[in-house]
Symmetry: none
Subunit: 211 residues, 4 copies
Amino acid sequence: MSKTEKLYDKEKKRINIMQAALKIFSRKGYSPAAVDEVVREAGIAKGTLYLYFQDKEDLFFSTIMYVFDNLASNMESNINESANPLEILESLAFCQLQFFSQNRDFFGIFQTVLNENLLSTHKKMFNEILKKKMGLLDYESKIVDRGKREGFIRKDIETQDIVISFDGMVGNTIKLMGCSGDPVAAVNVENRVKSIMKILLQGVADKKGWA
Amino acid sequence: MSKTEKLYDKEKKRINIMQAALKIFSRKGYSPAAVDEVVREAGIAKGTLYLYFQDKEDLFFSTIMYVFDNLASNMESNINESANPLEILESLAFCQLQFFSQNRDFFGIFQTVLNENLLSTHKKMFNEILKKKMGLLDYESKIVDRGKREGFIRKDIETQDIVISFDGMVGNTIKLMGCSGDPVAAVNVENRVKSIMKILLQGVADKKGWA
Amino acid sequence: MSKTEKLYDKEKKRINIMQAALKIFSRKGYSPAAVDEVVREAGIAKGTLYLYFQDKEDLFFSTIMYVFDNLASNMESNINESANPLEILESLAFCQLQFFSQNRDFFGIFQTVLNENLLSTHKKMFNEILKKKMGLLDYESKIVDRGKREGFIRKDIETQDIVISFDGMVGNTIKLMGCSGDPVAAVNVENRVKSIMKILLQGVADKKGWA
Amino acid sequence: MSKTEKLYDKEKKRINIMQAALKIFSRKGYSPAAVDEVVREAGIAKGTLYLYFQDKEDLFFSTIMYVFDNLASNMESNINESANPLEILESLAFCQLQFFSQNRDFFGIFQTVLNENLLSTHKKMFNEILKKKMGLLDYESKIVDRGKREGFIRKDIETQDIVISFDGMVGNTIKLMGCSGDPVAAVNVENRVKSIMKILLQGVADKKGWA
DNA sequence: TATGAATGAGCTTTCATTCAT
DNA sequence: CATGAATGAAAGCTCATTCAT
């Protein structure tokens, strides 16, 4: 076996372990998840895990990053930078919803890690992840600003408020999608995106609501 | 001292402990928070805690419920049932934002507890809390439905989608309020509610966005 | 029970644990000794040990210091500072031999701890102990110097060489006392001290040896 | 390549590994030294070590024996059996001091291994090594006895006491030589031997000390 | 023969819970 | 009622040893 193949093999094994870790961490969160459970899920011995990861925290950190990177590359390949700003926002919503609907386990771990209070002891990791999350918000801000300049988005609402609202609508949809546990919920992704965009753009007011 | 006064005393002590627990759980989450820290914060002996609560889980559960009930009574006293549906939604947003902006610690624990994945081991508690959370969503659904009937809210968007969006906008605002750590952010609550309602009702689209 | 009595009690318990630790550490050295063995020997639960000592290293460190202090106070109470320098040296030898003959377990741990190579990972402790050991050598140096000034000890041999030799004679006697495992060896302490002093002072040369 | 050459090669590899082991064991002692460190130092794979040694204990044992044999052959080639007893003792001291001053690493491992308490779990090894050590003491005893018979050494001091003292003087000099870490200390070996012999033979007493 | 990834028993340490005072 | 010392199950992690390549 060549050296390249070996490296590839090692990476595949790391990923196998991270996928097991993801399942456990998603179900239980960080602290209550035992390394023993992860290695049982991964079908390896305890010592083996420590050949691939420094410690439990590194395993958690790496797993999160792995998921993030999956999501990021998923987004990158789905977003057409030259599209109009509203289409880009729609793509962002669609990518996130589809990604999490197809990777149910992933969201739990996100919620865990983005809750800063859990992470006062994992500063390094938290900062790196917050940076990534903030990166998404920044990107959305730029899109919204462009939308304003190009006449797609009204200028009398703070960009920040728009982004927080949009992000919250998408995030809450994901969260409640996860709650239902409904395996066919995936098919509704397109409809849900449509609804989110309709609300975001046109609002929910009827005649009297515009008063 | 009368029997009633004694009971009152006992309840005051329970509350004192729960307030200490809240601080600790908010800062650290459930598992990493040590009972030792709670009793130190509360200024009592470790054994004493177990006179008032069955175990750590019961302490957590009770603390969450205590906070929920605080929020609920806060809402009840602020909402005018006879107001129009949009005003009620605005009140709901306002109450939540104000409550959490004044009780920063409270939100962390909420995030923790509402992440179902953390709670597979605390089924009993989770169900009760989910019931409360769903209670709020149900209430919002009823308001939205009334809004539709009374001509305030357009009928071509699913009530569920509206509620999820609204709830997400409010929740994300709270979450990011917590992130900033900005002590004067509290003063913006009214503005933020205004933004949320404007987006929810009228949407963010400009000319081209309505195409 | 008064507060003073409680403190006294706590100290007695610490000592009880250190005595158990001494037995185990003496038999096995630091690393191979399991905390489990110590707590079994002490008749306590594992957690209890950690109420009295920060960690295994602290237990080891404290135990060594406890022994050192025992030896030191034993010496202090046996040495008459106003005696002539040779008598003081004799007392020093006698105290050490007697102490270790009565506390066989103690010597093994001394050998372990004074072997610097074992301690590269326990710098803090090692330095403190080396300081104590060097303190004894310094004290002996001063006595020898006084002996030279007062005409008891010849001036043509370096003080350092004398001290190292004296210390080595005493130390090796202790070491081999420990080897024999002979329980009645204790009675010979006085004879052994006499021999050491005779050799140290007069040397072993016969007629031809003085050539 | 002939069969003899192959065997020779194998032995060279064993020695290479033992030299690496010596460095590591000397620095850290037995337990804290990791097999990993030894193989890294030796530049071989972990599995390879187990082709040459049964287990870690065997590696340690063999390494000690290797050093002992080095010292022994060093002594044998330096000692003139027909010299007078005092010269032989001087040679013994000189050989040991010189050997360890030139092989600083060696002494640490000696201290470790000669501390019987560390070795209750390595009985087999301990006995073999004790036998060698006692062999040296026995040899010294014979020399001292001959010295008594031939009129070099006074007869009123037990041979055993003389040997223990001599051995202790030499051993402590080596130990403190190691402590200082002084790289030029090596040059003093001759002076130190002279001092040891002077003290051993003539004693340190001045006029009043002979009283 | 040489390799080094995999193993799992065994280690130190933590912490929710109990109970004699 | 209140205390806090004692408990021991369970956690994270290490490392001597094996074995398929």
